[in-house]
Symmetry: C2
Subunit: 532 residues, 2 copies
């Protein structure tokens, strides 16, 4: 999410979410903290969406709970957004404006021009916005596929026109800055799929991102080429294929499609299943197949599974577990690590340099990606001659003042809002720290009943542990811990006994020390004093 | 770990450990379950170690706690093992036998021949063992570096001789089976380091595996070439360099070495720090530098950090966090993703095929790696003409009977023993499941004091939550949960109240349902009944 301010008006570029890292147990989604926009409610002229991926539009339904907004995006981007707004019941809050690549649109105080880019979802755009100092050009997510499936190449001519006009500041996609060279065309994946499909003796299962319309198109085309029907598996893939078909972004004859729940009645050598779960998500169709627990698909020797997808950082372990499980069923497995069944949607180093050379911006801000991607994109920019002092590597929350010179003037609140179940923002660093501690060494609950007046211990300490140590081995240790705690409680002075907080601190210390001594573990110790 | 049995005698090949996955919170190490060996105590003729990496020798100190064993390994492998045996106080349990590559050794009932292989640690060997059906050849970890730093190439001639003798079964390293082509020589890393070192204006910090003696040699040689001294940082790197110097496996003049604690007194442009922490381990030197918390090294703009290492699967997130942190200090960072600062120690697909073609084994068992690596190695073997029915993809615990034919006859107990702190094997699946549950949604402790005779609730329920929900938002929810629980307890029949297990079940259900209803989370609920 980027916010442009002109006078007191605000234009928002994208509003994405991210997924939790391994240091955020139990978290479902990570939203940007939009306090900045909340503070500017009523002054927001619009939100421009560059394309329909979750990391660019996913936070919008949450933002719309609080703010009424005008949304500007291309046809497919809006088409994919609409069901999400309905699901979140925020349709009323949004006014949707369809924009056409190649046109200029007036959005309140802002003038924006949209340029076609190719990416791993159709209908993506870059956007140029006029500022008093000159043009600000934001590439969105893009690559320079020379032969995209829909024939719609990144509009270098329009980008060149902005360059001619004079781009004051370029913001460009850094996701693949660390990849050298260029990304092969999406079209090169088709022939690889064909080689695999042609030789497959039985069922073929493919997995890819549900929004990767062009990949799905190629899978379906290849299926037809080898005389197979396709069966879509998973709600998200059915939804996005449905939307794309309705809006004319994908072309699959109705007669090619079979219902996945009829799979057992069909000749497996005549079907390609197009499934979700390419990231090894725990309850996804593919993971269930890998565990031999899927309702309709039971894999066996002779079946072929193709993961036509990348490994999103953070998902390595679950994807590898899934691949191992798929092999274990006897199926033959192909993935991007061993076969040309996927290409990235993001421009690699040489394409990024081409854009930098074409645009020759006065100032450059690498965007999208972790800090290492931004830093390396900055290195690429220096290599093509952008002076180091005209490159700003920014982090979330940095406010950049755009004048003749660019400078970071302040950092505003722009952290992460964690979504866990129904809660939005009710899990913060303290809760996460507790969860990580609980995960590492478990919990030991120590309960003591004490006389409310005298503080005398009436019953306990009772000790319950979870996730700490195996029950059989723990009995002895916990009994010893119990006795030590009881003995040390008896040694407390009478004025200490009367104060539950002192009692608790004492239990935590005595217990913690002993347990660490015998196990070298530090479970979370929860002392409970029941005053009766 | 592989065990060979001949009559009633046993020969063990390697005894490694692994590191916990993200589904094993709090676990330090994962040992193989050596019940099989325990059952054969007294019949074990020896343990052959192919090289000194932890995943091949790390479990040995634990095994030696229970069994006296004869260990056969090359000089450096024994040299690196010895301090570990001392640390675990099991030196007395082991009789060490140094073996020389290129020789045949009689180990009880077994005849073994050792062949030099190149790998990412010096002094590795492959081993051939005679069986009544013919030779069994185990490659160990290897690659075919044509120009290794120590000049000791993989002994293809000796392997060829075994092939001529007729290899009945080949076991070969599958770690890099998914990598196409071949692995570049270790020697190619030096010039890349030189390019980076030469241009670095200030301090250089490098990180690599402590046992990668040849990499450390190249770093030190390159440092000397650009007129810098070296400072070793981290206990493990100091230990292994010390051992390697003493045994003549590394050549660093004493005059090149400076003490890292004197760093602040030295000209940073005259020093290369050789550090541990290349996997982003939380408390490692490199992570502390990335967090600006290291005692002796404070990075700043102009400093250069080189991660001369691979990304071990499972460590992606921590390595990426570390790299981002390093960039944030202002330092320039190089890693294997963007510069040629690392090569793998394991043969890639074409090298594996070369070995298969050279050996032409009657039977083939791919070893080392996850199932997907074994399965892909099997695919490579089929590609070079090994019949599919003569390839056995085995998993831990499979017992392969080696006769004229090979077949898996049974599966024995060979799971994982988890080490957590001082405990070995006291954390099993139940404890891990609890830890994962605690990590996901935290814990809610519900304490009730009840009259021991009547079961009447005397005090409580008191509710304490950790890792569940932010304290401020939780007060209301927990108060409501408390009231609902109390109300529902009052509705219980008197005979139910008297039974603590019924009470607990009731609390767990009432509380769990309500909390899920309002938060869609399922914290672990621990009911405690204090009978007073």
């Amino acid at each position: 999410m980027a916010c442009l301010e002109l006078g007191d008006r605000v234009l928002v570029l994208d509003s994405g979410l991210s997924f939790p890292g391994d240091d955020m147990p139990g978290i479902d989604l990570v939203l940007p903290d939009y306090q900045y926009l909340r503070d500017r409610a009523g002054r927001i002229d619009g939100v421009v969406l560059t394309h329909g991926h979750e990391d660019h539009v996913g936070a919008l339904p949450y933002l719309l709970r609080e703010l009424r907004l005008d949304i500007y995006a291309t046809r497919l981007t809006l088409g994919l957004l609409q069901p999400k707004l309905e699901e979140h019941r925020v349709t009323e809050q949004a006014t949707l404006h369809e924009v056409t690549p190649g046109t200029e649109v007036r959005i309140g105080a802002f003038t924006a021009r949209f340029m076609r880019v190719s990416h791993s979802i159709p209908d993506g755009v870059a956007v140029a916005v006029d500022t008093p100092a000159g043009v600000l050009l934001h590439t969105g997510d893009f690559k320079l596929d020379p032969t995209p499936i829909d024939g719609r190449v990144t509009d270098l001519q329009a980008i060149g026109e902005e360059a001619k006009r004079g781009v004051h500041v370029l913001l460009s996609d850094s996701t693949n800055a660390e990849e050298s060279g260029t990304i092969l065309s999406e079209r090169t994946v088709g022939p690889s799929l064909f080689d695999i499909f042609r030789d497959a003796p039985r069922l073929i299962v493919t997995a890819c991102f549900s929004s990767h319309i062009h990949r799905i198109q190629q899978i379906c085309d290849t299926a037809r080429a080898v005389g197979r029907n396709v069966a879509f598996l998973g709600r998200s893939i059915k939804n996005s294929v449905g939307q794309a078909r309705e809006l004319g972004y994908i072309d699959i004859p109705e007669s090619d499609i079979v219902d996945v729940d009829q799979l057992s009645d069909l000749d497996p050598s005549k079907v390609v299943v197009v499934s979700t779960g390419s990231q090894g998500e725990p309850m996804s169709a593919l993971s269930l197949m890998a565990a031999h627990e899927h309702k309709w698909v039971t894999l066996q020797a002779g079946d072929v599974v193709v993961l036509s997808s990348s490994v999103i950082p953070g998902n390595e372990a679950s994807i590898h577990r899934t691949i191992d499980g798929l092999y274990r069923t006897g199926a033959d497995v192909y993935h991007a690590g061993i076969a040309h069944v996927h290409v990235s949607g993001h421009a690699a180093a040489d394409e990024l340099k081409l854009i930098l050379n074409l645009v020759r911006p006065r100032w450059f801000i690498p965007v999208h990606g972790e800090l290492r991607h931004l830093a390396h994109h900055a290195r690429l920019a220096r290599e093509v001659g952008i002076p180091a002092e005209r490159i700003l590597v920014c982090e979330d929350g940095d406010v950049v003042e755009i004048g003749e010179e660019l400078r970071v003037t302040e950092r505003v609140q722009a952290g992460m809002i964690l979504v866990d179940g129904l809660g939005i923002g009710d899990v913060g660093e303290v809760v996460l720290r507790d969860r990580r501690k609980l995960a590492d060494d478990g919990v030991v609950v120590v309960v003591v009943s004490a006389d409310a007046h005298t503080g005398e211990v009436l019953a306990g300490p009772d000790i319950i542990s979870k996730g700490f140590i195996h029950d059989e081995t723990s009995a002895e240790i916990l009994e010893e811990a119990r006795e030590r705690t009881l003995a040390s409680l008896r040694e407390l002075a009478s004025e200490e006994v009367g104060d539950p907080s002192i009692l608790k601190k004492h239990i935590r210390r005595t217990m913690g020390r002993y347990l660490f001594e015998v196990t070298k573990r530090k479970p979370m110790i929860i002392p409970v004093i029941m005053e009766v």
